[in-house]
């Protein structure tokens, strides 16, 4: 991993020419499109157009004139606020339980690990509405676990804001786990070993060495999870229902607006997009400067 440059302690400025270390800095402007081969460039541009075109269409067809009226409705802001709060909470939940899960999958050998990994990614392929039904059956008032939550603690999750967070975390956490696990696999486990030989428990080694090392991967996973949670619709409406201010997030508001007023739906979608782009771009800048 660590390539070792020549020893030159007394040469001033030598440090600048040194390379090595796990994270190598790249000179700004290197690796630009200059000389990009056509067989790569063409599909890349097609890919970009494919992703951006629907977005452009949405902008073109947006009802700009009625936009101000639509956007001053308090229900829109209520839904937007709820979306941001719930997506952030779901990301936090995913971090707290998803990062340790990723660590377990990446670092601990146990029988059936492959099966467990497949199970973790299951919410990715499960249609979200089915995910919502599954959550009802597990955590609903009569669910396998939910009935005990209700009987012992008086907690019922369906139709509550907490239910929205649960549904969003269920769908979004796999993105975080996969991203963090990948980063962990790429990270050198011997740093953890080095930490333990210095007297660190495995948990301390994880907290003080591994976690800082994989921070970029965790951040990327968290952003993926947050974005997925923000756009989550199927599991949310199925598990948590749809009630303005309590469980009606933006995607739900957009979907229901689509039933009666497609123009309003477009406007709401644009609000959701604008906010998520602003947040993601802001975060990205922060890591770039932090790393």
């Amino acid at each position: 991993m660590t390539s070792s440059p020549p020893d030159s302690p007394d040469r001033p400025g030598a440090a600048d020419t040194l390379t090595g270390g796990p994270r190598r800095r790249r000179a700004p402007g290197s690796g630009g499109s200059r000389g990009a081969p056509l067989p790569l460039l063409l599909p890349a541009l097609v890919g970009l157009a494919f992703l951006v075109l629907p977005l452009v269409a949405l902008l073109v067809r947006a009802p700009w004139r009625s936009m101000p009226d639509l956007l001053t409705s308090s229900e829109v802001w209520q839904a937007l606020r709820l979306s941001l709060v719930c997506a952030t909470a779901a990301t936090a939940v995913s971090l707290v339980i998803g990062v340790p899960l990723a660590w377990l999958l990446a670092r601990v050998e146990f029988p059936g690990r492959g099966v467990v990994r497949a199970l973790v990614t299951l919410p990715l392929v499960l249609p979200p509405v089915v995910g919502g039904v599954a959550l009802l059956m597990a955590l609903g008032r009569n669910g396998v676990v939910g009935q005990w939550l209700d009987a012992w603690f008086g907690i019922t999750l369906p139709f509550t804001t907490a239910g929205v967070v649960v549904a969003e975390a269920f769908v979004a956490m796999p993105f975080l786990v996969i991203s963090v696990e990948g980063t962990l696999r790429a990270a050198d486990p011997r740093y953890e070993e080095a930490a333990t030989t210095l007297g660190a428990s495995r948990f301390t080694a994880f907290r003080r060495v591994t976690l800082p090392l994989i921070a970029p991967g965790v951040a990327a996973g968290a952003v993926l999870a947050w974005a997925r949670a923000l756009g989550e619709f199927g599991a949310t409406i199925t598990f948590a229902g749809n009630f303005p201010g309590r469980t009606q997030t933006m995607p739900l508001a957009v979907y229901l607006a689509l039933q009666s007023d497609p123009e309003a739906a477009i406007a709401l979608s644009l609000v959701l997009l604008a906010v998520s782009v602003a947040v993601l771009a802001g975060l990205r800048d922060r890591w770039m400067t932090a790393s």
């Binding site: 039904v133 756009g231 469980t247």
Partner: protein, 275 residues
Amino acid sequence: MTRTARRNRRMSQVIGVSAAALLALSACSSSDSGSAGASDASASGSAPDGISGEVTVFAAASLKESFTALGEQFEKKNPGTKVTFSFGGSDALAASITGGAPADVFASASPKTMKIVTDAGGASGAPATFVRNQLEIATLPGNPDKVASLKDLTAADLKVVLCDKAVPCGAAAQKALDASRLKLTPVSYEEDVKAALNKVVLKEADAAVVYQTDVKAAGDKVEGVKFPESADAVNDYPIALLKESKNTDAARAFIALVQSAQGQKVLGAAGFLNP
């Protein structure tokens, strides 16, 4: 950013598929069988009365069971014909018809959604109401909360789900509540009638205001409670021949079958009211 956008868009496409899965889970007997076998339709052999070829019917989701049965009857009666259904939310179907989807017949769950098609000039002739659907309260099996009237639903500790006002069953429920000056705060405004019903089937909600046909289709998983205010919010189901139809004879014949005594009997068995 763009990825999020794409996911959002994909989400709304996934909804249809997911909704089908949801229905399957609640044993309301639903699948995509309506669209199966559409490809092998050919105009081989003509029926005695000259009707042949393929008829594509866009119909409200609540018509699925009865229309599927009627489609089989139609094909049996007119050899050489093939009826292909696309069931879905009336508004989504209306949107695809105005968007140019190739369909011969549109059977909608509300005059409002039919109006989207007629306003766009998509219908050939005036739509006709062929059935009506009335609201009913769906409660847990055995009605443990002793719900007997619409007013009983306003009890504080009762978890009630309604359809969202944007969809026909929600609008109808709101109309009934307004007419009887009742104020009901549900735990959720569901995106469609099947979703509302499902919350009761899964015992997450104590009661839902849905259509009689839905209660009937759910069998013994819910118990229906009729209420007089539902008369104020009866939903008309209009059917119309579409302008873009390539097979008007067969399409007309299918509409005739729906409106015939035989057709009304099938629909009546599913819980629909005759117009």
